[in-house]
Symmetry: C2
Subunit: 148 residues, 2 copies
């Protein structure tokens, strides 16, 4: 992982479909050299893959919320994960410091759908109570910069 790798990653973060030749031009390497570096970054797990960025509204996921989840008793992170995984509306979940056991990021088609999801979430037997915060607007949403 040197400076050139970081610049290659930057190129791929801003456009994952750019060609090795293009990337090479911008970092001063030949296309095969870039490909070999990218392959190595994928092998070592620095690069996890490539994905399309989709407009959630266009797919009918217009409503978003963050939910603090409080569980009963002593629950392992793995247990929480396995209970949240079956809910497709859960796009992210974290264990956190503080009073809550987890923060869950939800996406639903609308407020009514969100209500349904929250009911299903509260019906999970390890979950004691939830505190929801509905997202009104997204101010920023961007990948972390490669350099500090």
């Amino acid at each position: 992982m040197d400076a050139i790798d970081q610049r290659i990653i930057s190129c791929l973060v801003s456009d994952a479909r750019s060609s090795y030749a293009e990337i090479g031009k911008s970092v001063g390497l030949s296309a095969p050299a870039v490909k070999r570096r990218v392959d190595k970054l994928l092998d070592t797990g620095v690069l996890r893959g490539f994905t399309a960025v989709v407009d959630p509204e266009a797919l009918g996921w217009g409503t978003e919320a963050f939910v603090e989840v409080h569980c009963r008793g002593n629950i392992t992170p793995g247990e929480i994960r396995s209970r949240l995984d079956p809910l497709p509306e859960v796009v992210a979940a974290y264990t956190v410091s503080g009073a809550a056991d987890a923060i869950v990021h939800l996406r639903a088609s609308d407020i009514h759908h969100l209500e349904t999801v929250l009911e299903r979430l509260r019906a999970v037997d390890i979950i004691d109570r939830t505190i929801s915060t509905v997202v009104l607007s997204t101010l920023l949403d961007r990948p972390p910069a490669p350099e500090h």
Copy 2:
């Protein structure tokens, strides 16, 4: 946006670098037909682009936090956005319902760096106070499914 478009999007979400020919094989279309649909999805904004998924640890962004931001007086979302934008550690920010004005998603290299970022955040003059929640582990992190 029909069922074939959704399947094309699914393919690109799971691997943004797959070829049009490959996608075509999986959705039953020729490569040029797939390309034309992808171009249209990009034009209409359903697809916003393609990006690499990077391991944050590997880039030195090992520590994560969510911060409730409370502002002074009446502040517009645009105002909040413009104040958060210069901070590279802010990876996402939302205006929300409830008492807080915004939720900010932060990434830092470690706890010390996180502390520095929180200080810089609290130094923003429109910000009154902040409540931070440090992420202990990521349970789930996935793109929203194309179908409900």
